[in-house]
Symmetry: C2
Subunit: 444 residues, 2 copies
Amino acid sequence: MSDEKNQKRPYRPRPVSGFPEMLPEVRLAELSFIDDIRKAFESFGFASIETPAVEEIEVLLSKGETDKEIYILNRLQADENDKDARLGLHYDLTVPLARYVAQHFGELTFPFKRYQIQKVWRGERPQEGRFREFTQCDIDVINIDHLPLQFDAEMPAIGYDIMRRRNIPDIVIKLSNRKILAGFMEGLGTEKAGNAIRIIDKLGKLPASEIGNLLRAECGMNDAAIAKCIDLADIRTQGTGFAARVRALGISNPTLEAGIDELASVMDMLRELPEGAIEADLCIARGFDYYTGTVYEGKFTSYPDYPTILAGGRYDDLAGSFINKKLPGVGISIGLSRMFPKLQQEGRLAIGRQCPTDILVIAPSAERQGLALATSRVLRARGFNVELFHMPGKLDRQLKYANKKSIPFVWFPPFEDGLAHEVKNMGTGQQEKADPATWEMPNG
Amino acid sequence: MSDEKNQKRPYRPRPVSGFPEMLPEVRLAELSFIDDIRKAFESFGFASIETPAVEEIEVLLSKGETDKEIYILNRLQADENDKDARLGLHYDLTVPLARYVAQHFGELTFPFKRYQIQKVWRGERPQEGRFREFTQCDIDVINIDHLPLQFDAEMPAIGYDIMRRRNIPDIVIKLSNRKILAGFMEGLGTEKAGNAIRIIDKLGKLPASEIGNLLRAECGMNDAAIAKCIDLADIRTQGTGFAARVRALGISNPTLEAGIDELASVMDMLRELPEGAIEADLCIARGFDYYTGTVYEGKFTSYPDYPTILAGGRYDDLAGSFINKKLPGVGISIGLSRMFPKLQQEGRLAIGRQCPTDILVIAPSAERQGLALATSRVLRARGFNVELFHMPGKLDRQLKYANKKSIPFVWFPPFEDGLAHEVKNMGTGQQEKADPATWEMPNG
């Protein structure tokens, strides 16, 4: 290396891999998406909470999720009093929720219904739709001892409501129930039921023959059992028709029956949703070990190869584990950071405005700046988002600024005494007299 | 230690010092506060951005702020490919903004007006009003080459607007201009002007005699010079009267004159604010070295001993330093995590509701659950936040739930065919017939 290269060059800002950031016009679209998610969550009466970005390592490892590539914190200037690093950034919002409910148990009202919209961090290798920092939008309900199935049905209803608000009809939320696969395996006499479920969860990603080979090799299944598993995992119905088809496979087991009944109840409670919005799909299992009943997986129907955009399920034993109580929960996570870049790439987001400004007030001249300032104040007090241009004078420059930032209206305070205020609609080009105290913004 | 004590006991969740979290009823109040801050920021046309929680260490250290106790990240399971930790959590939002503007320079519209509401982290020892994780609400404008003073006046106007929205009239935003102190020192012939400014900034925290001793010991000032400094730093006026009082001290210097003119202009532009909302206070300097002109410091007038709740200023050389351009900026930071606990402690926050629910729909019986569900849907589609109680039956239990969560209205779907819907105002106890398709919520 030459001496020149070794010389310290000034630092030039650069993106950090896996930590995306947005230009203002994209962020504006994201914020509007988040606002709609929040409105949907609140419309069902769920309360916001936030937990710290960090948890103690014991909490993060309590589910045994050591493959999540946890980031731990150290102070840059650690002194001798520093203990070993015992704090790490959370990698999801479910484990913090479980800890929160256990810690504040006596201060919460149950069923505890909360939503949480926060960043989470995973030190994984970045790929398409996978980042090291991303936003999760979670909604969960946790109750003491017993949690009615009504909530299992409410989760996909809320998920669908968000999509409806965002005008994204091309999604399907697939439902299953862990007890169906588990009971079916039990009924078949499979020894390694957990392994088998994880293998069947891959149906759709791997061909059926490959699934068969794995079940044979890893779970010691015979051809008849494999055929029944594939038949089961192949069942996909719009309503409750799945139940008869499962029973027709001739496996009898109480856990299986419980799973069928639960899923049928949940599907029935969701019958008001538009056709195609939900379906029972018995190959869905979800990776997390803590799911014990209903599971969800949402996908774009228009982009079938694109990964899951929302997911969740019921966990009967997660939250209570810290304090030795029975605290069953169910929840769903909207994968905003998964969904958003795809919608952006497909041109399905309204991206254009760089700012929330409704009206740019023109600064006609230094002498009339006071009038322009007063005009901005009147419009702002009436609820509009208003910028006053910062350099009185040159009109061209002011209109160019409005155009560049896609500000929809430009306001002209009178250039001389006796003249009227005027407002220009930058979309239509129309300009008309207006009174700042009474003007109403046209719709659209 | 006994063997028993050495046994691994199950982890019990506990708070982590410096990383506070809120119960839902407190978080609801915080969220409403944040919403108002955001509305105020947007009403002036500022755009939201978010930067990652992390920056490269070079960025974090670029201002030489090594006393901020930066947290650096390491992966819990680092492999041999891991480079030395080169990412740290941001400790403010100004340095990330400067890096953002430099990195995306060609893609932004100037003047670039952004707000940013995010968590920041400092590994300091927690004290009253100081946390290791806290929320900052920053608003800044950065322009190329020249930034009009209009923006210096806009920052405290926005700060005051937030307080007005939150019904907090008991604050004062103190303004000064760095050039006044710097030019005054220059005019006095002080050699260690920087030191002197830092000492004078402590006036109000230390007695004047102590300030005098420090100026004598650390800056070699004589008694006459010290007296002039104290006289200067003592100047506090509601309007532009400070200018005459500074000039009466008889120090002549071009930087001083520029500072007086700038501050007078800014104070003049703010004359529409209510009396007492702002004042020129010439002892204000702010700690950060990067401030070059206007500086702000906001405090509760009702709690004069409580620390600064908003602060900021103009920095002409910060953002451009990464890319060798002139990018002057001015901004203000609302110390939400500083302000909020004090307002809570003083009982000045509306804390009570545990959830955003407007209406709890009663589930009269299992048979009529479908009707109750349909009623919830109608009310929700009309924009209300609606919960349907999860266990049909026992009315007492349902009303108790509404009471505990302070849900303001309870809706009774007809218990028999032919009866009408009824709604109960939980505040007044009044119950009346109502139609879910047309009912309007009473004000208040």
